[in-house]
Structures are given as C-alpha cells and as structure tokens.
Symmetry: C2
Subunit: 142 residues, 2 copies
DNA sequence: CCTTGTAGCTCTAGTTACTAGAGGTTTTAA
DNA sequence: TTAAAACCTCTAGTAACTAGAGCTACAAGG
C-alpha cells in the first residue's frame, strides 16, 4: 500500500509542509517519487513519522529524536558492549530531562492554580493574576 | 538609583541582549540614555522586567505578556469585568496546557524508566522506546 | 477526450524568542 | 594615562515550523 503525502499527513496528523521539512533536514528519508515526481510513502514511513510526532508532543527536540532514532537503528553486532552503554546513557539522559521538565511544569501548575483561586474567591472585579505575576514572593515553591 | 543595563541584567537574571531585544519589540519602554548614549534604568523597569521573566518561566508567550501588561495598565473604570476575565482566561488556558503536558511527560517517564530497567536486566539492546513512541496505544494514560 | 478542481511540486520568506558575533565607543580603575 | 571592562549598533543565526507564490500532476464528471 502506497501513500501520498496527503494521506501520510492525514494518518500522522503531521502537516504536509512539516513532512517535507523533515525530509529536508534528513529526519525522514528521501521519499521515492512517482513518475510524476510525487512522493510515495509506506507503512514504515508512517511509523517513523508517528514516532517523531509523538516525541515532539512530549517535548523532545529534533536532535533528541535523531538520537533516539539512531539508537533504535544501531547495529547490534557492532561492539555490543558499547552499544549497550550508549543506549543506557541516551535513555537516562532523556529520563532526567523528562523528570526536570515535569518538575518545572508542576510548579508552574501550582502557581497558575493559585492565581486562579485568587480570581475565583474574591468576587471583586480586580483579578490578582497580574499582581501574582508581578510579585515573585507571592508564589510558593520558589 | 539609576541602573546600567548590566546591573539590570544581574538583578533580573535576564541577559543584556534580551533586554535590548525586549526594547526593540516594545515590550520594554525605550530607556533614557546617558550623555555617552548608554541606557539608564530605574526600579520600575526592574519590576516590569521581572514580571516579564517570571511570566515567561511560567510559559506565557510574549503576546500573552503584552496582553497582561496592557490589562494591568488599563483604566479600571473602563469595563473592569472584561479585564479580569481576559487575564483569567489566559491563566486558565495556560493551566490546561500545562496539565496535559505533565500527563504526557509522566507516561513517557514511566516508559523510559521501564526501558532502562529492561536494558539493565537483560543485555539485549533492543529498545522499546521506539515502539512506545511510535505507537500511541502502548502508552498508559492516553 | 477534455476540462476542472484538488493535490502535489519547489523555493523563498516569515514566525517566535532569543543568542552570538563583528566592529566600534564609553566608563572605570590602576 | 592607559588598559580592561562594559557598553553601543547591526547583522545573522538558532529551532521548528508555517505560509505563500507560481507551477505541474492527477482523478472524476460531462
């Protein structure tokens, strides 16, 4: 089953221009072309693209993703010890980054919640969001 | 007390180039200049800059921040209800976005942790991250 | 078979929020 | 007084797309 770029786009929820962009920066392989010069895609391309999009949604940079992809493609028989270590390194680096993102987002969440509580609890017209944002001392956690 | 751009930078933890950038896009007012053409800042500038930086850390876009700043400057007698609703909207929009990001990252964290355990326990380098990231169904939580 | 509309093609330039560097001037401190 | 540090402007680069101009290909209806 061959997909056009439009079909690939629909199935991956990734815009057409973005797919072409990914090809341009070699994150996606160069697609084969039809006789009329139109790109042709297969299931493997869809998988890879879904992988990329899902990772992007989770906050990984394109460089992170390149790294993860290279990890998955790394030849197993070629220096297995090294490969294994490298795999661990990359994965734990990603894990650390993920955790610190979560932490930062959680303190952000707290603070936004705090702001909204202020808004809701006094029914005066003056919303305290702005005060809270202006004044760092008003927030808990840092 | 007059501050140089370097001092303002130190007190706000905002890079010098970024301060000038903010002036360029009119997020910060045009600073007065010394006889030798160097920028001069005051407490009010520091407050504003801290407000901006704090908001940025919380994930607000510069446009959101411009809006918040204009709300804080808006005359209170002129449709005050509208003012607070808009600020509240911005905050709750950010809160929602933040929560969904946290959720996604937490499921990724789990998967990465799982994979690391896996890598440690058997010495195959076959990594499940790729599968997990490629296949949305494999992840818990959504 | 032809036409028309949708989908595809390339290439350039714009977006956001900065950051870095080149090349020059001003201030400060020894 | 002189050298170093801090300042100045301006240009260009970064990530990760996005949009538009101007063109070609292809599928469906008459």
């Amino acid at each position: 089953m061959i997909l056009t770029i439009g079909q690939l786009s629909a199935k991956s929820s990734c815009k057409i221009t973005t797919i072409r962009y990914y090809e341009g920066i070699k994150l996606m392989p160069e697609a084969t072309r039809s006789s009329g010069n139109q790109r042709q895609y297969h299931q493997a391309d869809l998988n890879r693209l879904r992988f990329i999009r899902h990772s992007r949604e989770l906050g990984f940079s394109l460089d992170d993703i390149k790294e993860l992809l290279s990890l998955s493609n790394a030849p197993k028989n070629d220096a297995p010890e090294n490969n294994s270590h490298r795999a661990e390194d990359i994965a734990s680096k990603q894990l650390q980054a993920t955790r610190s993102r979560i932490q930062r987002l959680q303190s952000l969440e707290q603070e936004l919640q705090l702001m909204l509580n202020h808004c809701n609890h006094d029914s005066h017209q003056t919303c305290r969001v702005i005060e809270v944002l202006a004044n760092h001392q008003l927030c808990q956690g840092h």
